[in-house]
Structure formats: C-alpha cells, structure tokens
C-alpha cells in the first residue's frame, strides 16, 4: 500500500482528528469536572484578583486555539500534500471521475 493510497490518507486524517478531539474533550471536561467536584480548589486565589478557576478557564480557551492551530498546520502541510498525491494517482489509474451535480463556480 503506497503512502498516497486512499486508505492511508483516510487513516492518517482520522487519527489526527480523533486525537485532537480527545485532547480538547479531556481538557474541557477536566475543567468541567473540577467545577463540578472541587469548587474550593478553583476558588484558590493564585494572584491578587485571579482565582485558579479563572486562570484555568482562560487556559481552556488558549488550548482550543492551540489545538485548532496545530490541526490547520498539519492539514496545510501533510493532509493537503497527500490529497494532491491522491488526486494524481486517481487520474492515472483511470478511476471514474464523479461529475459535479450543480456545483457552483
């Protein structure tokens, strides 16, 4: 199986997508579970005017940004390159090309 086969591209895409989704859910539900089960801990003041809860909450937003950025970086470099390979091999092997059904220009 070449690295540009549909199966390989598909498997790589879902591996990255699922890992990042699991990471996002772990971070977010970690935060939610702390809100649910350990309120006093989140109420700890880490600096004047800043509780641990607010710090972690802002960090969840930053993590969401970071994971989104990681995905875009990965997709723009690796995924798009694999898709280009896939497109050319598909043509070379004479796979049927599906026609656009009313696709816009």
């Amino acid at each position: 199986m070449s690295s540009h086969s549909l199966e390989a591209v598909s498997a790589a895409r879902w591996r990255v997508a699922l890992s990042l989704t699991v990471a996002m859910m772990a971070v977010y539900f970690g935060f939610v579970l702390l809100v649910a089960f350990n309120k006093p801990l989140l109420g700890t003041v880490v600096a004047r005017g800043l509780s641990l809860g607010m710090l972690l909450g802002a960090l969840v937003i930053l993590v969401a940004w970071a994971l989104t950025w990681i995905y875009i970086r990965w997709a723009n470099t690796h995924y798009d390159a694999s898709l280009r390979g896939l497109r050319s091999t598909g043509r070379a092997q004479g796979e049927p090309v599906r026609h656009a059904q009313g696709e816009g220009r």
């Binding site: 809100v35 309120k39 004047r48 800043l50 607010m54 909450g57 969840v60 989104t68 599906r98 026609h99």
Partner: protein, 512 residues
C-alpha cells in the same frame, strides 16, 4: 440615572444607518441571486476570512453578548462556564465535521447523510431535528429582540418583533445567502469592534490590568465572585450542560450551512480557524465586560433594570461612554439579533424547500425556478411563524430556550452526522431512529426538567432531576444509532460508504 428605556436619538440613528446599509447590500446581492446555488450558498464565492467573520456573526448571538455579560455581572465566575463551553465546540467542528461536510453536501447538513443513506427517510428525520432546533433558537432571538428594543428604544414589544421579522424577511427573500453573509460580516465587525472598545474603556480605569478589575470585584462583592458558585450545583448537571454546549455547536443547521458558501474544503478549514480566533477573543472580552459591569455599574443597578441581568453590557456602555456609546452598543446588539434571525430563517427555508419539498416530495425533479419559488415561499412562511412565536412567547426566559436549542442540536443532529462521516456500519434505519430519538428525548426531558416544571409551571418537584438533558439524550441518540445499525446491518449502504470515501477527502472532482 440611566436613559435606558427612553427613545435614544443616537441609538435610532445608528440603527437606521445599519438597516439602510444592510438593505443596500441586499439590493446588490439580489441582482446576483438567480440560482439555488446563489440563494443557499452565495454562489460558493465567500472567502475564508469573510466566512470566518460570518460564522462568528452567526454564532455570537444576543445570548453571547448580552446574556453572558449579564450572567458574569450577576453571578461572577459561573457565567464564564458558558463562554468556555461555547468556544470549545469550534475545534470539534473543525476536526470532525467542516471538511467532510463541504465535500459531501450541497446546501444542508442532511445532504451528507442523504449522500450515503436512503434519501427520503433520512431527509424527513433530519428535517424534524433541524426545524426543532431552528424553532427554539428563533423563539429565543425574537423574544430577546422584543425585550431589547422595548428597553432600548421605548417601542412596544409587539412592534419590535414585527420590525425584526420584516427587515430580516427583506434580507433573506431578496438577497439570499449572499446578503445574509454580508449582514453577518458587518455585524461581526461591529460587535467585535464595539466589545473591544467597551472593554478598552473599562480597562482604562484599571491602568489596563484586568487583574486589578477582578480584584476590585472581589473586594466589593467577596472572593466568591471569582470561584464556582450556585449556578452549577449538581456535578452531573455540570457535565450534562458541558456536553450540550460543546457538541451542540456541531449540530446547528445555520452554522453547518455556512461551509457550503466557500469554494472548497481547504477554504472551509481556514474559515473555521478565523472563526475560532474571533469567537475566542470575544469570549475572553466577556470576562472584562461582565466584571466591569459588576464593578462600575453595580449588581443592584443592573438587576433593577432587568432581573436576568441582560442589560449589563448596554448599561456599562452608558457608564463608561455616556449616551452616545449607549446608542452605539444598543444598535450593535439589535443588529446582532437581526443577523442571527436572518441566518436561522435561511437555514429553515433550505430545510423546508431543499430537503423536504425538492428532494422528498418532488424526487429531485424540480427546476431552478420552482426551487427558488419554494425557497422564497418557505422564507415568508418562516418569517410569519417566527413573528407569531415571538409574540406568543413574550415574557419567557430567553436563556433556557437557547440552552434547549443547543441540547436538541447535540442530541438530534450531531450523533447521526458524525457517525455518517466516520462509521462505515451506519445504516439508514440507525441514523433515522437516532435523529428522532435524540429530538424527542431532548424535548421530553426538558419538559420534565426543573427548568420547565419548577421555574415555569411552578410545580414543587420535577420528574427528571437534571436541568440540561444532554448527558442522557446525547448518549441515547448515539446508542440508538449504533444499536439499530448493528441489529439490522445493510451491506449495500456500507458499500456506498466505501464509494464515497474518495469524495469525502477530495470533494466533487471536475473533469478539466
């Protein structure tokens, strides 16, 4: 003390300027809107940055701007749980949904399911879920609009609802997706700019140190404003709300529809990146706006104007920028509602005409002219229905309606959509039962929850203990989809999944 509730000449001027410029956009867009591709998908001409702003515009509704600022001003930290929950849905949309959705569908998320499953039963089930979400979301926006205009401009509630309905109808009817997109973009820029300016004016009083502001809030109202409090009392309820907020985003029909307005999947991907950046920035601002209102205006003054605290942001604008800034922020808040209502109506019209009329009743045999006539008739129908619902539900609590819409979206649409993209074994029957059981269980459990039974109906007890049904209804919907599909497998549908795998990654390939 405050000029809220009196006709504010500047607010009305800003508002008329917004309406006039957006109707100008509509006239421009109407010249281009001649086919269904234009009406539903803006001719696939929207760029990544434009779509990112439009997604942010569609998402940052009055619930985000007025609701969260008010919630933080009144309850402190607890309001931030909503800010965070509503943002983390976006990475999920990015990783799991955006690109396959763009590659497999044409106008609605139901297209993705219909591409690999039997079209008729799937579209009917998907339409029921989509219309339930849209209806509750619309009610929340209309009720919010009515109250807001009554408070801000001194107009009667009913008149306000009719004005919103009529202006929105003009955008969607004549300008379709192109006008709706540009209205969202203008509104998103105004909202982000207005909120940034407001936060800047607040922080200027604390030498641009947010911690000094939070410290002042904790000195005035006690350290507990910075820690989790009474809003989330039950742990399971907290997780349930978290699930609905996170997964609901990936099931909102009007958000999913935006991915069809761009050229290809790569542009869709980039646009989610922009949207996540804008929305995250906006939600970080809500930390400052909420605590700013708490400190500068004071909790008592905020709840005196509106018990739910919804007027915290406009009051804060008046406090730091005087009547002119109040006028500007009020007009921005109104533009926000108007734009979201337009986006919702358009996705409702696409469901009624594209999914139900053209695909189910006419078996894909309707020509462009007929499709456009049906789409525009559906728009008029939805505008009338939303005006009537807005008037009927006068005085209802807006927040629970939006929560309801998210819970239904997460239970009805998300499981079937994500499984249809990921899982070869999903069958028509599995998806159909999942969407129906998700919609029905979410609706029934909300009706039996303390939110309706205790808060609205005034009963002493509720049959269902949780305020948000997410944890039960989302799990049920997934379990039904997987269970039914395994019980009655369909080999031909699994084969169809393999056939579509190439299109899922590469999109519809043109012959050059």
């Amino acid at each position: 003390m405050t000029s809220l509730g009196e006709p504010n000449a500047l607010a009305i001027t800003f508002f008329i300027l917004f309406i006039a410029s957006s109707l100008g956009i509509t006239i421009w867009a109407s010249r281009k809107t001649t086919t269904t591709d234009h009406f539903y998908a803006a001719g696939r001409s929207v760029t990544a940055l434009q779509n990112g702003l439009a997604l942010a515009g569609d998402y940052m509704s009055a619930a985000s701007f007025l609701g969260i600022a008010g919630l933080v001003a009144v309850s402190g930290f607890d309001g931030l749980i909503y800010s965070i929950g509503w943002l983390v849905g976006w990475p999920v949309v990015m990783f799991l949904i955006a690109e396959p959705l763009r590659n497999l569908g044409r106008y609605t998320f139901a297209d993705v399911l219909a591409a690999r499953l039997r079209q008729t039963p799937i579209r009917i089930a998907a339409s029921i879920g989509a219309l339930a979400v849209i209806t509750f979301y619309l009610i929340a926006q209309m009720v919010g609009a009515g109250n807001l205009i009554r408070l801000l401009f001194g107009l009667p509630y009913e008149a306000a609802v009719v004005i919103v309905g009529a202006v929105m109808l003009a955008y969607v009817l004549f300008g379709g997706m192109l006008a709706t997109t540009w209205v969202q973009i203008v509104k998103a820029v105004l909202l982000l700019g207005g909120a940034t300016l407001l936060a800047g004016l607040v922080l200027a009083r604390f030498s641009f140190n947010p911690l000094a502001l939070f410290a002042e809030a904790s000195d005035m109202y006690g350290a507990e404003v910075l820690s989790p409090g009474r809003l989330v009392t039950d742990p399971i309820d907290a997780v349930s709300l978290g699930l609905a907020l996170m997964l609901g985003t990936a099931g909102l029909p009007h958000i999913l529809m935006r991915f069809y307005t761009v050229r290809d999947a790569k542009t869709a991907r980039t646009s989610v990146g922009y949207a996540t950046a804008f929305i995250g920035f906006f939600y970080l601002l809500t930390f400052v706006l909420g605590f700013g209102a708490m400190v500068i205006i004071g909790r008592e003054a905020i709840t005196a104007v509106d018990a739910g605290g919804n007027m915290a942001a406009p009051l804060l604008a008046e406090g730091v920028g005087g009547t002119p800034f109040l006028g500007f922020i009020s007009a921005v808040a109104f533009a926000t509602i108007l734009a979201v209502v337009a986006g919702l109506t358009l996705s409702g019209a696409a469901t009624l005409s594209h999914d139900l009329w053209v695909s189910v009743f006419r078996g894909d045999k309707a020509d462009q002219r007929e499709q456009l006539v049906v789409a525009r008739s559906a728009t008029v129908l939805l505008a009338i229905v939303s005006i009537l619902l807005g008037i009927t539900f006068k005085g209802q609590n807006v927040a629970y309606m939006v929560g309801l819409a998210f819970a239904i979206a997460a239970s009805a649409n998300f499981p079937a959509l994500v499984l249809s993209i990921f899982w070869r074994g999903l069958t028509t029957r599995g998806a159909q039962f999942s969407m129906i059981s998700g919609t029905v269980s979410a609706l029934v459990l909300i009706f039996l929850s303390p939110t309706i039974q205790v808060d609205v109906l005034g009963n002493a007890d509720a049959w269902f203990p949780l305020r948000n049904p997410g944890i039960v209804s989302i799990s049920l919907s997934f379990a039904v989809a997987i269970g039914v599909s395994l019980m009655w497998p369909a080999a031909s549908e699994a084969k169809r999944f393999d056939e579509l795998e190439r299109q899922l990654h590469l999109g519809v390939e043109h012959v050059d």
